[in-house]
Each structure stands twice: as C-alpha cells, then as structure tokens.
C-alpha cells in the first residue's frame, strides 16, 4: 500500500498520536499498527461521507441566509437582458436629444470655455472638445483639436488654404448611449442612467477604478485630476433640470449645437431631426447614441 492510497483521517490521527511520526507509514511497518486495516478504512469512508453531508447542509443553510428579506436585491436590480438582445428594455426612456450641425461650427471654442467654467473641469481635461478635419488635395486627412480660445492668437500654424480640399469642425460630447457600455461596467453602481436617459456619475460612490473610462468607445469619460473620480459630459444635467439649455449650447454663437426634448414633437430639435438626415458616431457598436450629427463623413469616428 502506497502513501497515496492511505485514508487521510487515520493517517492524521496516527501521526498525531506519534505512532508514525517518523514517516513510518510509507515504509509498510506501520501497516500492522492499524493505520490501514480494512475496518479502519471503512470507518473513515463512512465518517468522511457523513462529514461532507453535514458540511454541505450547513454551508447551504448559511448561504440561504442571504435570501432573508432586507438582504436580497429588489426586483428593479434584476440584471437586464444583454444590450440589443431580444426582450431588452432600456433602463430609461430617452427624453432629450442633442443635434450637432457640423456645417455651422466655426471652431471658435466658445463651447469649450463655457463647459469648463460651468462644470469646474480642471485645466488640461475636457468634457467636450472640437475636432477639425482637414482633407488635403493630395488625399491626406489630418485631424487636430480646436484650442480652447479658438485658433486666433493661439499661434498654431494653419494649413495653406490652397492645399485644402475641404475642412470642417466636429464638436464631440457625450453621446448618452441608450445602451451605454460605461454604465454596464461600473462595479459600484456609480454610473447612473437617469430616468430622463442622461448618463451621470455619482461622485460620492465612484471609487475611481477607471473601468468606465476604458469602456466608453468615444473617449468621453476621464478621471478628474481634482476629484480623483470619473467625470463626463452630462449634458449639464443640473441646467436641464431647471429647464435651461446646456452651457455649450447657450454659448454657441452659430447654432451648431441644438438641445431639446425629443419626446415633444414641437421642439426645435424634434423638427430638425424630422426634416434633416442625421448620423450617429460608431453606429456599428450598437450603443444607440442620442447625440446625432448633421454632415458626418466616414473619416469622423
């Protein structure tokens, strides 16, 4: 009989009794000492089975404690079916929409300043930004960011107009996806899809793990240097709740940003969306963004 065939309990018991303390069991000399007699083996089998039975019962009993009322999750916390899948119900019915008209943006950066001041966003970070796409006549496409106070006085070297085929500005902000990936990955429920359909950050609950920053396919979320927790464009939720326009919309001098109720057919945005064809960013991802764009080219992602 090898060491591996020996029942565990008697071996331990014998070892504890000192009879096999010097490893004698393996030498066979221990066999006559009662270590591996048939009766002892049967006893150990039975007691092990009983032990497992009792232990399993106790464990299941302890686990069933979590079924007590007050400890369990409510009906509203049941996991949703997978996004986009059959029977999927959005957490909130979207009330608001955002329309960006790239043909109207002049790249003045007024929206950027307004957003930073309104939401106390630290320098070097931004909840919204404006990209400039420059298509050159030789086929190149270059993208750069509009400086916060516009190009005037920024000292940036401008492309020569005669080399440029076309150029346009594309403001970026939170898409408020109906199926928001950033919302789904939050381990502490600090990502909130408000009843109005606006994605918010509960800065009190956020632990700053940064999963949502990586989950957002649009790069909207960032870790706020000042607060150490996640930050994002929330369409100026505080203003919207007071029936005010988001700061960037208020600041835009050309009407390139339109915000309003999409559940009201008489609102400006509803009328615009009903008459002008629009696109969303990265439609193939199926995140169902609420921010829609006029004049989006394939180069914009």
């Amino acid at each position: 009989m090898s060491l591996f065939e020996l029942p565990i309990l008697p071996t331990l018991g014998a070892a504890a009794a000192g009879g096999c303390a010097s490893g004698g069991c393996a030498s066979g000399g221990c066999g006559t000492g009662g270590c591996g007699t048939p009766s002892a083996e049967r006893t150990s089998e039975n007691s092990r089975r009983e032990f497992l039975k009792t232990a399993t019962t106790l464990t299941l009993g302890a686990m069933s404690l979590t079924l007590l009322p007050g400890v369990t999750a409510g009906d509203d916390m049941l996991p949703l079916p997978p996004p986009g899948g059959e029977g999927h119900v959005p957490a909130a019915k979207p009330m608001y929409g955002f329309l960006i008209d790239t043909t109207k943006c002049i790249g003045a950066g007024k929206c950027l300043t307004a957003c930073r001041v309104e939401n106390s966003v630290p320098d070097g970070q931004s909840r919204t930004w404006v990209e400039r796409y420059v298509h050159y006549k030789d086929g190149r496409v270059e993208v750069d960011l509009v400086p916060e106070t516009g190009y005037a006085g920024s000292g940036e070297v401008q492309p020569a107009a005669e080399d440029v085929l076309q150029a346009y500005f594309v403001p970026k902000l939170c898409n408020q996806c109906v199926d928001a990936p950033c919302n789904q990955v939050c381990p502490v429920h600090a990502s909130i899809k408000s009843p109005e359909g606006i994605e918010l950050v509960d800065t009190e609950r956020c632990i700053g793990c940064g999963y949502c920053v990586q989950a957002c396919p649009y790069g909207i979320r960032f870790m706020n240097h000042d607060t150490g927790v996640a930050d994002k464009c929330n369409w100026c939720y505080h203003r919207v709740m007071r029936n005010e326009q988001p700061a960037c919309v208020e600041a835009c001098p050309t009407g390139a940003r339109v915000f309003g109720r999409i559940d009201d057919p008489d609102s400006e945005i509803s009328k615009r969306l009903a008459t002008v064809p629009t696109n969303v960013l990265k439609q193939h991802l199926g995140t169902l963004p609420l921010t829609r764009y006029v004049g989006l080219t394939d180069e914009v992602t």
Binding site: A55, I106, A114, R132, T149, I192, P195, Q245
Partner: protein
Amino acid sequence: MTSFNDTRHLWALGACLAAVGLVGMVVRREMVPDDFGTKGPYRASALDDIAAQPSLFQADATCHACHASVEHERAGKSHETVSCAHCHGLAVDHVAMARRGAEDPTVTLPPAAEWDGDFLTKADLYISKDRATCLSCHEAVVGMPADFKKIDVALHLEEQGASEPLSRETCFECHGGHDTAP
C-alpha cells in the same frame, strides 16, 4: 457500523459560517445607501445632488431682463445669437447683486471692469472692445463654413483704411458690438 462522533467540529464550522454570514449582512446593510434601488440600480439621492450644482453660464434672457435696450438693439442682427458672456464675462457677481438690488435699493452695482484678456473670468462684469475678442471668432481659419463672416485681419484693415490698425479697439472704428453693421 460506526458513525462520526466528533460533531463539535461541525458545530464549530457552523458557528463560523453563521458568524461570517452575520458580519456580511451587517456590513452590507452599512455599505448600501438607504435609497439605493428605489429609482434604479443606483443611489437615488445622487440625482438631486447632481441637479443641485449651480448654473454659472448666464442665458441671455437673464441679461435682457434688465438690459431690454440691448435685446432690442441686437434683434434680427448677426450678433443676436452671440452670448452676452463672450464679450462681458459670466458676470455671476453682477447678476447676483442685481437680483439683490431689485429688492434692496441700497445695493449699488459697481461699474464694469476692463477686460483682463481671460475668457474664463467668472465673477467680474467687463466690457471688452479688444480686437482679440472679435478675432476669437472672426479671424479666418481653414474649416470655417463658407457663409460665415471671416476676415484676414491685415487685409481687412488695409482695405477699409483703418486709422489705427494696431490699436486694440480698431474694430470699433467702424463696427458696434451689439449691432455690427459698419
């Protein structure tokens, strides 16, 4: 037929599991906010917390409530859609004092300051006739829509025969701020 006698091990195990379960329940009750899950899978009062953030960027309607003449002056003109804040600052203090002054006549508003060159000025009201303010929108940049009034500054000043092309307020030789028609 023998049976397993050391039931005290099982009792000890059971007691440990029960203790762990109890501690888990207490910790969970402490950690989960009271209003968690009442509106959705989040802390319901967070909505109110976020909505309580003050609005800093003034809508033009706030300014027009007192400055009706400016609203009239801008009506139908190209600068009608330009936010007051771009040339006059956020004027948070100014608006707050004006609201107090509406009830208490002893509150007087300080005069507007000179523009300090910072677009982020939060509290002060200023009147900027600085060309930098005008050019932050109107200096011609690749990418601007064709119908936007953009200018090549040097060329424009030369063409129009500006008397002091290097002056900060040179734009105001011909244009107004509210009604920009030359």
